[in-house]
Amino acid sequence: MKRLWAWAALIIGLIYFILPLVGMTNFSLKMRRGEYSFDAYAKVFADSRFHETFGYSVWMALLTIVFGVFLVVPTAYWVRLKLPYLRPYIEFVTLLPLVIPAIVIVFGYIRLYNTSSWLPLTGSYVGTDVLLVFGYATLSLPYMYRAVDTGLRTIDVTTLTEAAQSLGAGWATIIGRVILPNVTVAVMSGAFVTFAIVMGEFTMAALLNKPAFGPYMQLLGANRAYEPAALAVIAFGITWACLGLMQLVSRLQKTPQRPV
């Protein structure tokens, strides 16, 4: 009886989740009247705007990941090594982007860094790119920091640092060649989530007027019928790939390691 209820709950839930996925896939294949075809996908892939915005977002995602790693790894390492009493506060700060809606943060950027301010980032094309990367880095901070911090927990930071120091390594060498290789898996799982977030992000890019993938999808959705469904399938594929890869690498981490 209990098992019956359990199956019922699970199956009803799964129907809810599978239906939209079937719906969008089905719809994306129906562009040609009366038969299934990949016309909608062909239309999307032939659109130069698709290539531009997709490429732009991939670039932004990569820049965000690189910046995030440079920001988070040394900080998390340093906090673990020297300032452990700061950890709760840092963790709280990194969780703030989940509390403050992205639209509020980007509104603050627009007001704080406008052309008449002390740091007129929104005044130039490159400036808004920088601002967007910083915005994305802020949005991904909760995931990136948590991933790296968890990764650092599995290694003995103090011993590794002392060993490296006694061999004459400076801080840059310690972080770049000792700590980073030890938390690669954690960094990668943070990077995949960041990639998924940036590829689908709409609010920040739209309000900063950047030609990113999210605003392009929204624009196409307002003007076309079948192409948006194809885009949704593509976007779901990207999310699935990123999160799948993340699960894969974090499973690698779980395999027993040599005691450090």
Binding site: K2, R3, A6, W7, A9, L10, Y16, F17, L19, P20, G23, M24, N26, F27, L71, P74, T75, W78, V79, K82, L83, L86, I90, V93, L98, V99, I100, P101, A102, I103, V104, I105, V106, F107, G108, Y109, R111, T138, V193, I197, G200, E201, F202, T203, A206, L207, G214, M217, Q218, G221, P228, A229, L231, A232, A235, W240, C242, L243, M246, Q247
Partner: protein, 299 residues
């Protein structure tokens, strides 16, 4: 006496510590600077701006400006959608997690469900709206099926995707998985011994749940509810892609305000954003408080 010595020892320590102090703190300066410039200050700018006149004086008129019928209606419908999607997300997510953890289903279902939940909770925004339009929209899968098989139309049944319920059903797609991800560890934390202890004392299954299991889980449940609420309240992209600007909810209003489409008064925009921070801030404060309470049991 001993406390005095301790104080003395403490006050003796700082000079030595103080010399090393700045060097230690230099390590977190880049991070602190980044967070300050791109998270704290922008938010503070909004909060302060909500209480400023155009020439910088203090005023409450911006916040008072929120209390007009149309803006209050926007907040009200936003809160209703967020609350409804959070409640339903909690209930359905709990049912699914409980089915897998406690319902005696094969263990091989568990990992795929959690993986899928990770993906689905991140599948929000514009593409999610497209998926639901293609499914529940006027020419969507479900509607076509109902029309050809039963001759009924979702709109005839009173359902419109561009509405309160349309948005709620769509939000559930990322709310339910989030609930599953958060509540599964909590369900795992229910110790077998508690159930056995209850059984030895003669409790029925119902009594165990009513007097042991449920009270222990309650803080996690309520806490997750608050988190889901904030999650839905701040969602912009899904709402805009789904409804354009036809539904009067706060994120859409603020978006239009920033784009310069409607209100035309930047300080009212600050006040709108400030209102959002207050609502999500309260929800998350509840979440943090209840989470701290629930962690006492689930160690």
């Amino acid at each position: 006496m001993s406390t005095e010595t301790a104080t003395k020892a403490n006050s003796a320590a700082p000079p030595g510590r103080f010399a090393r102090f700045p060097m230690h703190w230099l390590g977190v300066v880049p991070f602190a600077a980044f967070v300050l410039l791109f998270l704290i200050l922008p938010t503070m700018k909004i909060v302060i701006g909500a209480f400023q006149t155009a020439d910088g004086g203090f005023t409450l008129s911006n916040v008072a400006g929120l209390f007009t019928p149309s803006i209050l209606a926007a907040y009200w419908i936003s809160i209703k959608i967020s609350f409804m999607s959070a409640i339903l997300g909690c209930l359905i997510g709990f049912a699914m997690a409980a089915a897998v953890v406690l319902g005696g289903l094969p263990r091989s279902i568990r990992d795929p469900l959690l993986t899928f939940s990770g993906v689905a909770s991140n599948f929000a925004g514009v593409p999610l709206a497209f998926a639901f339009l293609a499914t529940l929209g006027p020419v969507g899968l479900v509607n076509l099926f109902l029309r050809s098989e039963f001759g009924v139309d979702l709109r005839m049944l009173g359902f419109n995707i561009l509405s309160f319920w349309g948005l709620t059903v769509t939000y559930l797609f990322f709310q339910i998985p989030l609930m599953v991800l958060i509540i599964t560890p909590a369900l795992d934390g229910l110790k077998k011994e508690w159930r056995e202890a209850a059984a030895i004392l003669g409790a029925t299954n119902g009594q165990y749940w009513r007097m042991v299991g449920f009270p222990i889980l309650l803080p996690s449940l309520l806490g997750t509810l608050a988190l889901l609420f904030a999650n839905a309240f701040g969602a912009v992209a899904t709402a805009i892609a789904l409804t354009g600007s036809s539904l009067n909810i706060v994120p859409i209003l603020l978006y239009a305000q920033i784009r310069g489409d409607v209100l035309g008064d930047p300080h009212l925009g600050y006040a709108l954003a400030f209102g959002m921070i207050v609502v999500t801030g309260c929800a998350n404060a509840i979440y943090i408080w209840l989470r701290a309470r629930s962690e006492r049991w689930l160690k």
